[in-house]
Each structure stands twice: as structure tokens, then as C-alpha cells.
């Protein structure tokens, strides 16, 4: 594998508070472009909170306060002057439960590019939809029923539809919050295969509860515990020979 050294996202001293309760404590990390970074840790450790800082999703929670610095492509995003709409067009997100819009398969994917004005003509839009569905590995399964509702698809297909929807707006970063936890092993394998392909073009950050999944899909792994980043590094190293005892105890199932 070719090592790249381009930092896509750089977090420094990120603190997150929900009212008085501190959810993240001085998180600093660099995320390389076109790599998959897995965030692991027990429930409530802050991994999803950190993920949501990257596209400013925490803004939607009134009591949530984020301080510190996160730079995406060297631009500060934790700032009142950040253009959140343009930031989010750069960053796609896929959630734990597939959440297609109550619209047709076609419209699910077409919605983002339309509102962002990415297509001038109808055929442009069609192209974007087809390309995105192909990139998400879904096109062949749905090409004859693009007008059927997105919700008519199976769970795994719905999740790939959400991935197609996310990549339709041409993002650079894809955030995935436990994207496979509601899927069966086959649908999971298809998504993992997809992640492998997507990382050639996108920077991917994935929160997962499955150690094996983190080990399979990611190049870097970050272990969170009680709002702190305990250890981060090469996935191969973390899963065979972690430096920190807490990491060791967690990934071997010893956490007490």
C-alpha cells in the first residue's frame, strides 16, 4: 500500500460538553486523506460525539458546546464564521439505521445534487444518480426500479442507497456511524467491500462496535475511553500489539 502523508482532518484539543457534562476531553488527532480511520471504544466513550464534531452535527444539540480546533483541509471548522452548509457538502454521513427519504430510489440520490445545484440539466442529474448508485454497488440491483420507493429495498440495499446519496454531492469525506450494526453478515460484507473501494477516492471515518470490522476495514484505529483518546495508530499494530493496557483489555474483551 502506498503511504500518503496528506492530513485531511486535524483535531487539536477538542473538548465537548453536554451542559455541564464533559463528553470529550482534549482530543487531538490527525486523519490522513484516502484512508479509513476506525473509532472504537465502549458505549458512551465519545467516539460518535467526535464523529459528529467533524460535520458540525453537534450544532443541532442545543446544550452541546464544542471548543478546540478541527481543521479540514487546513481550514478551521469550529468557528462561528464556518460555512456549515458548504462544510457538510464536503462531508457525507451514513448512520446506523438506514434512513432513506420517503421518496423514490432515484429521488433519494438526486435530492442532494439538486439542492446543491450540481446538475444543470436533467441528463446531468441522471448521470450523477447512476454514477453514485454504481459507486455504491447498488445500480445493478435497482436499475429497473428507480422509481420505486427507497424504503422498498432491503436493509443492506437501503444502507447502500444512503451511501449513494452521500456520495452524490461529491464529498471528500464520508463519516459512518456504525453503518453495519443493523445489517446481516452478507449485507455487512458488501458494505465492507464497498468501503474498501471507496477509500481510493474518499477519506472515511467509521465508528464501529465490531473489533473485527475495525480490523478488517481500517488502516488507522483510534480507541476512545471515557471521553479520552487512549491510543491511536496503525490498525495492524493496535489489534496485534497495542501499547496501552486499556486498549488491550478492551479489544480482548477483558474490560472490567
Amino acid at each position: 500500500m502506498v503511504e500518503n502523508n496528506n492530513t485531511k482532518i486535524s483535531a487539536k484539543d477538542v473538548d465537548v460538553f453536554y451542559s455541564e457534562k464533559q463528553a470529550l476531553n482534549k482530543i487531538s488527532m490527525d486523519i490522513k486523506e484516502k484512508e479509513v480511520t476506525a473509532l472504537i471504544g465502549p458505549s458512551g466513550c465519545g467516539k460518535s460525539t467526535f464523529l459528529r464534531c467533524i460535520n458540525r452535527m453537534n450544532d443541532l444539540i442545543e446544550i452541546c458546546k464544542v471548543t478546540g480546533s478541527i481543521k479540514v483541509d487546513n481550514e478551521e471548522i469550529i468557528s462561528s464564521s464556518t460555512d456549515v452548509v458548504s462544510l457538510r457538502s464536503k462531508i457525507g454521513m451514513v448512520f446506523q439505521k438506514p434512513n432513506p427519504f420517503p421518496k423514490s430510489i432515484f429521488d433519494n440520490v438526486a435530492y442532494g445534487p439538486s439542492i446543491h445545484g450540481l446538475a444543470d440539466t436533467k441528463s446531468d442529474l441522471e448521470n450523477i444518480v447512476i454514477t453514485s448508485l454504481k459507486k455504491a454497488g447498488l445500480y445493478n440491483e435497482v436499475k429497473d426500479r428507480l422509481n420505486e420507493p427507497g424504503t422498498s429495498l432491503s436493509g443492506g440495499q437501503q444502507q447502500r442507497l444512503c451511501i449513494a446519496r452521500a456520495i452524490a454531492v461529491n464529498p471528500e469525506i464520508i463519516l459512518m456511524d456504525e453503518p453495519c450494526s443493523a445489517l446481516d453478515p452478507i449485507a455487512t460484507a458488501i458494505i465492507e467491500e464497498l468501503i474498501d473501494e471507496l477509500r481510493l477516492n474518499y477519506t472515511i471515518i467509521i465508528v464501529t462496535h465490531s473489533m473485527q470490522q475495525a480490523a478488517r476495514v481500517s488502516q488507522k484505529t483510534c480507541f476512545f475511553h471515557l471521553g479520552e483518546l487512549i491510543e491511536s495508530g496503525e490498525t495492524n499494530k493496535i489489534f496485534t500489539n497495542p501499547d496501552n493496557t486499556k486498549t488491550q483489555d478492551y479489544i480482548t474483551g477483558r474490560f472490567g
Binding site: 473489533m211 500489539n241 477483558r254
Partner: protein
């Protein structure tokens, strides 16, 4: 690194069983070598036959442990130190089985030896074999204690075995040159001494596996550690 128990207690039990099985394998192999040396000492061909049969017991224990190891891999998908322990156990089991084969080979040579084996080299081979047996016992202890330092110590013990091997080899060559009639008998001894030398190498492999399982680092990583370089085999 301190190790607490797994949340799933049966996983702890399985790892404990694996460790016990390695210790049992070690005892079987030690016993096999001890018996082989005894039968060489007594030139007891009847006993030699029994020892040869006993190799089946070691093979069965090997297969049973191998099966438990693949089951634990499939079932638990071990990570980090657990993964290293299981991975090493797979290799250690295999190496112990090979040591058992070499010990059996000594008995096989005794069983077919129709000639009188020369006393002095036979005695030296028995002494050498006892040292190999100490190495086996020490390496199993290092595994049980999960000690990289002890594993390193056992690794070093093989130097002495290699020296004895060369010494006995020279001795046997001299015997053969002096008295060509002894060639058949000395060839048998030559095979035995080679068997012992190989056993020492397998014990070294085991020591390396333990070192890796404990520390997560290879015993030799190519970095220039002066204390190690001094003891590494010299390039010729």
C-alpha cells in the same frame, strides 16, 4: 502488561485449557526423550519398540490440541495478546510434535542397532540428550510463566547443544577413520546426535514464539542490539 480475566469466563477457561495442553505436550515429549536416552543407555531394543509405539500418543495429543486451537480461533476471534498467545501455541504445538519425532528416531536407531555401539560417544550423546531435555522443560516453564526473559535464556542454551554436537561429530569421525568396521554403528550415533541437535533448534523456535507472544516483538528484529549481536551465531 497486567492481564485481567475476560468478561466471558468460558474464554478464560479455554485459554487455560490450551496452556495446560501445551504443558502436557511438553511432558509427553520430555518423557519420550528421557525414555529414548534410557533405552540407548541400556541398549534395550524391546523398550525401544515400546517408545516407538508411544509416538502415537504424542501425535494424538498434538491433533487434539490443534483442533482446540482452530476452534478457539473460529469461535473467539482473539485479539492482541490473546491472538499472539494462540498463534504461538499453534507453532509451539507443532514444534513439540517434531521434537517428539526426533526423540522417537533415537529409539528407532537403538531398535535396529544389531551391533555394539561404542561406549564413549554413546555416553556423550546421553549427556547431550539430558541437556536438551532440560531445555525442553525450561521452555515449557517459560511458556507457563509467560516470561519473555526466561524464553530468551532458554534460547541461549542452544549454543551449548550446538557445541556438543560438533564435539561428538568430530569424535565419531575419528572413530570411523580409525576403524572402518565401526562405520555402521557410528552412523547410527551420528543420526542420534543430529536428532538431538535438531531438537535444540526446535526448542529455540519455541522460545522465539513465547518471546513474541509475551512482548509482541520478534526476538530478533534486525535492529542492532550489541548484547544480542555478541551472542548471535557468527557468519562464516
Amino acid at each position: 502488561m497486567k492481564q485481567e480475566g475476560h468478561i466471558v469466563k468460558s474464554y478464560d477457561e479455554e485459554i487455560k485449557d490450551i496452556k495446560n495442553s501445551i504443558v502436557d505436550m511438553g511432558s509427553l515429549v520430555e518423557k519420550q526423550l528421557k525414555d529414548s536416552l534410557q533405552c540407548l543407555k541400556d541398549k534395550d531394543t524391546e523398550f525401544a519398540e515400546k517408545i516407538i509405539e508411544n509416538d502415537n500418543v504424542i501425535d494424538k495429543a498434538y491433533n487434539a490440541l490443534d483442533q482446540s486451537l482452530i476452534e478457539i480461533l473460529g469461535k473467539r476471534q482473539p485479539m492482541a495478546s490473546d491472538l499472539r498467545t494462540i498463534f504461538s501455541a499453534i507453532k509451539i504445538n507443532k514444534d513439540l510434535e517434531r521434537i517428539g519425532d526426533h526423540a522417537t528416531n533415537i529409539a528407532k536407531r537403538v531398535a535396529v542397532a544389531e551391533i555394539v555401539l561404542p561406549e564413549k560417544p554413546s555416553r556423550d550423546i546421553i549427556n547431550m540428550g539430558e541437556k536438551v531435555n532440560i531445555m525442553i522443560s525450561e521452555v515449557i516453564k517459560a511458556f507457563l510463566e509467560f516470561s519473555d526473559e526466561d524464553a530468551k535464556k532458554v534460547w541461549l542454551m542452544d549454543r551449548e547443544i550446538d557445541e556438543e554436537y560438533l564435539g561428538i561429530l568430530r569424535q565419531l569421525l575419528t572413530y570411523m577413520m580409525e576403524e572402518p568396521k565401526r562405520i555402521t554403528a557410528c552412523t547410527s550415533l551420528l543420526y542420534m546426535v543430529k536428532n538431538l541437535e535438531r531438537m535444540g533448534d526446535y526448542v529455540q523456535n519455541i522460545a522465539e514464539d513465547i518471546y513474541y507472544a509475551v512482548s509482541g516483538e520478534p526476538l530478533f528484529d534486525g535492529s542492532s542490539d550489541p548484547t544480542w549481536e555478541a551472542i548471535l551465531p557468527k557468519k562464516k
